[in-house]
């Protein structure tokens, strides 16, 4: 589901390294993208393109696999058959999306072993919203609907990007996410229009999650040469602000129409059609993404345990003559 992890840490000051690239190959590469053609794994590509894409797709993959945990928290407690089966299918899809995205990232040269090592050693980032807890069933519903909605805004944009394997993965992911969004909306509507206990649960969950949702797309972009290049290469497809505005446009009315309120007195659409809101607490965001959130330690501990407990299985299945070959596409 979650495609927004990487955009906030594009190094705005770093050099692009473009001066070291072959100008003829670079021109062909840029011309191909300008023509609307996709880049495939064996094509020549600038180092910066490879590096940024690897990081972005890898973080997206980590966000899926870590993102399966907050909703997984309610997998054994979902109320009724319909919700129970759908919750299982949704959590399963997140793991499936991680698999697709790791594969896409692998075509750029980084192995899945290395990506998973970096995740469990705390060297890689994932979407910060998953460092927050889901204390009630309603919290899980808020994620299913609104975090997935945010992710879809992002992924629909990225699916128009320039890298073939990432586009293929995102096409499949977006098709599967249609179910997530509808399921999440359905669950939230049932709660918000339900009994007083349900309504209270849902409003409280929304209040808890709204600040995190507002940080989901990352801080306002500082437009730099770097950002411009990544947009020209169709690595970065929309600014954080544009995504956030699109999300608010699509979902605030849907939230309000079912009688829920949003915990931001400054949230409103101005005469120019632009949403105004209280600036999220970016200091807190930084603190959490750097490890000091309520669930960071648990999320990593769980991934480590899953890897460790499954190690004997993988060892046993290992073939002595096996050789690593990058996936093709």
């Amino acid at each position: 589901m979650y495609g927004s992890a990487s955009t906030h840490d594009i190094p705005t000051q770093a050099t692009t390294g473009l001066e070291n690239e072959d100008p003829i190959l670079l021109a062909e590469f840029e011309a191909r993208i300008a023509r609307g053609e996709k880049i495939e794994p064996t094509d020549w590509m600038p180092q910066l393109y490879r590096k940024q894409l690897t990081r972005m797709i890898e973080q997206h993959a980590h966000s899926e696999i870590i993102g399966s945990l907050p909703e997984g928290t309610w997998i054994t407690r979902a109320p009724g058959f319909r919700r129970k089966m759908a919750q299982m299918a949704k959590v399963q899809d997140e793991v499936g999306h991680a698999q697709l995205l790791y594969s896409a990232a692998e075509t750029l040269g980084k192995t899945r072993e290395q990506m998973l090592s970096d995740l469990i050693n705390g060297k890689s980032k994932y979407s910060n919203v998953f460092n927050y807890p889901t204390p009630t069933w309603a919290d899980s519903n808020v994620i299913s609907w609104l975090i997935d909605a945010g992710a879809i805004v992002n992924q629909m944009a990225n699916a128009k990007g320039s890298y073939g394997p990432y586009c293929r993965a995102l096409d499949r992911i977006c098709a599967e996410e249609a179910f997530h969004l509808k399921y999440g909306h359905d669950a939230v509507v049932h709660m918000a229009t339900g009994t007083p206990i349900q309504r209270k649960m849902m409003q409280e969950a929304l209040n808890r999650w709204w600040p995190a949702i507002m940080t989901f797309f990352g801080p306002s972009d500082k437009m730099s040469t770097h950002t411009e290049i990544l947009m020209r290469w169709k690595v970065k497809m929309a600014t954080n602000d544009a995504c956030r505005q699109q999300f608010l446009d699509m979902y605030v009315p849907k939230i309000l129409e079912i009688g829920l309120t949003l915990p931001d007195a400054n949230l409103r659409k101005n005469e120019d059609g632009v949403w105004e809101f209280s600036e999220p607490d970016w200091e807190d965001f930084k603190r959490v993404i750097n490890g000091d959130g309520p669930c960071n330690a648990e999320r990593i501990a769980v991934r480590r345990a899953a890897e460790e407990n499954g190690a004997w299985v993988r060892r046993a299945m290992q073939q002595p003559k096996a050789q690593y070959v990058r996936p093709l596409a």
């Binding site: 090592s117 909306h185 509507v189 009688g259 769980v302 070959v325 596409a329």
Partner: protein, 208 residues
């Protein structure tokens, strides 16, 4: 011990904190296999993506649930990634067959002498899309198979990229196992279409 809001996690009885684990060994996640699907009877098999697996039969188990649980499917093929002979990629609108070098005389000569075997040929029509099965050729080597493919399918355009796979390297789903997929369309709980909530919203607004 780590207490979690998730009862499953609490049951794992994890320590509050633990030292970072060492990096994974190479191939801890196994080599890769590429997976192809048939969406409907009598349609071409299409590439859907890779799975990591220790062997082909396990790759089949994995490929089935990773790639066919959410969409109709009537058959599946898997092949080790390393068994695929890949041509270079051309531009959209072109055919890579046009740029195919002629085989040296000795290779062509070998073609006459040696025993041929079947190769499956896949075309990529457009960058960013998926390779699709176009048919089989008989040849003595992947290189010769590519020449044969040019003769057999070279008139199809555009062809951005070609995959050549020796047919015996493909593990194909058993015809007798088609019923493994029959219930997929019934699993509506994982389809967007199963969730229709507008009536409920309208009723709520009227009552409000």
């Amino acid at each position: 011990m780590l207490f979690s809001l998730d009862p499953r996690i609490s049951r794992l009885e994890l320590p509050e904190s633990a030292p970072a684990p060492p990096d994974k060994a190479a191939l801890d996640q196994f080599p890769t296999y590429e997976v192809f699907h048939q969406r409907k009877e009598n349609t071409a098999y299409v590439y859907v993506g890779p799975v990591h697996a220790p062997e082909a039969d396990v790759a089949f188990l994995f490929g089935k649930e990773q790639f066919s649980r959410r969409f109709p499917c009537t058959g599946m093929w898997v092949v080790p990634t390393e068994a695929i002979r890949v041509t270079e990629y051309g531009d959209d609108q072109q055919s890579v067959y046009d740029r195919l070098p002629l085989l040296p005389a000795d290779v062509l000569a070998a073609t006459d002498a040696a025993v041929t075997e079947a190769y499956d040929i896949f075309h990529l029509k457009k960058r960013g899309k998926a390779h699709t099965h176009v048919g089989q050729v008989q040849a003595t080597s992947p290189e010769a198979a590519l020449q044969a493919a040019k003769a057999a399918f070279g008139d199809q355009r555009p062809v951005v990229n070609v995959w050549v796979i020796r047919s015996t390297d493909l593990l194909r789903s058993d015809e007798a196992d088609r019923d493994m997929w029959t219930t997929t369309p019934d699993k509506k709980y994982r389809e967007a279409i199963a969730y229709k909530v507008q009536d409920r919203i309208d009723r709520f607004k009227q009552e409000g």
